[in-house]
């Protein structure tokens, strides 16, 4: 099974004008890696899910969706360069975005990985590391190291 994480799915300099732009840029990033074919569909599905609420904890937001726009489960990671990306006015700007995308026909293995990631995002030490590393390979290592979190 291919990893849901990849160096190519990480950007430390997301310069977005707002939430919609951020999701659109991240969707394009996912498509550019060949993991999906339809950035518009991805963005549309993520925004539809966002209408019911996107979880955010301590500046880390997790937009997510099941979408036909991807062919394999993928987690795109972005750090924002400004304070324009706001999912929840109460929470303030998102500093780190994890966009979790699952194909409509995803198997349980991926769900297990993604649910484990969602749990780890509640861990302060883990999210601190996410904010501070500047090495995509190191970040992928942190993300894949699920069992030792």
């Amino acid at each position: 099974m291919a990893s849901v994480f990849s160096k190519d799915l990480i950007t430390f300099e997301l310069n977005a004008s707002d939430k919609v732009d951020a999701i659109s840029q991240m969707a394009q990033l996912v498509v550019s890696t060949g993991r999906g074919s339809d950035a518009e569909q991805i963005a549309k599905d993520v925004l539809a899910r966002d209408e019911m609420g996107t979880p955010q904890v301590d500046g880390v937001a997790i937009p997510h969706a099941r979408t036909s726009g991807v062919s394999q489960s993928s987690v795109a990671v972005a750090r924002t360069t400004n304070k324009n990306v706001i999912f929840d006015a109460d929470e303030g700007p998102a500093e780190v975005l994890f966009m979790i995308l699952v194909p409509n026909e995803a198997g349980d293995e991926h769900i297990t990985i993604l649910s484990s990631l969602a749990r780890r995002l509640m861990d302060d030490e883990f999210t601190k590391a996410l904010r501070t590393t500047n090495d995509p390979a190191e970040l992928v290592g942190l993300l894949e190291n699920q069992e030792n979190g």
Binding site: M52, P55, H64, A65
Partner: protein
């Protein structure tokens, strides 16, 4: 005391598990035994009826229907949503303590 919690959300990928982790951490920090069932996209392992009926109180953090709801007949239930469980788990634990009268 012994607290059973069930978390569930529309997509079953993120909120369900974040809410579960959040409640587990807050409950344990307050000295309670936490038994949490995640009803997510990966299916769920149902907590046995006897365990549920033996709990002091139950917390529901869901925005879609709880499956096998009849297991909770007669239980004291704090009803909430995943967002609250993620953002402010302590308030739900406090409500659970109050409802259980302990």
């Amino acid at each position: 005391m012994k607290i059973v919690a069930v978390t569930s959300c529309a997509t079953g990928i993120a909120h369900t598990y974040m809410a579960a982790e959040s409640l587990e951490r807050a409950g344990k920090a307050a000295g309670h035994e936490m038994i949490v069932e995640t009803q997510g996209a990966g299916g769920y392992k149902p907590i046995a009826r006897e365990i549920i009926q033996g709990a002091d109180v139950v917390i529901f953090a869901n925005d879609v229907g709880i499956r096998d709801l009849d297991r909770f007949d007669g239980c004291k239930i704090v009803q909430s949503i995943p967002k609250t469980a993620i953002k402010d788990p302590k308030s739900l634990i406090a409500q659970a303590e109050e409802l259980a009268g302990k």
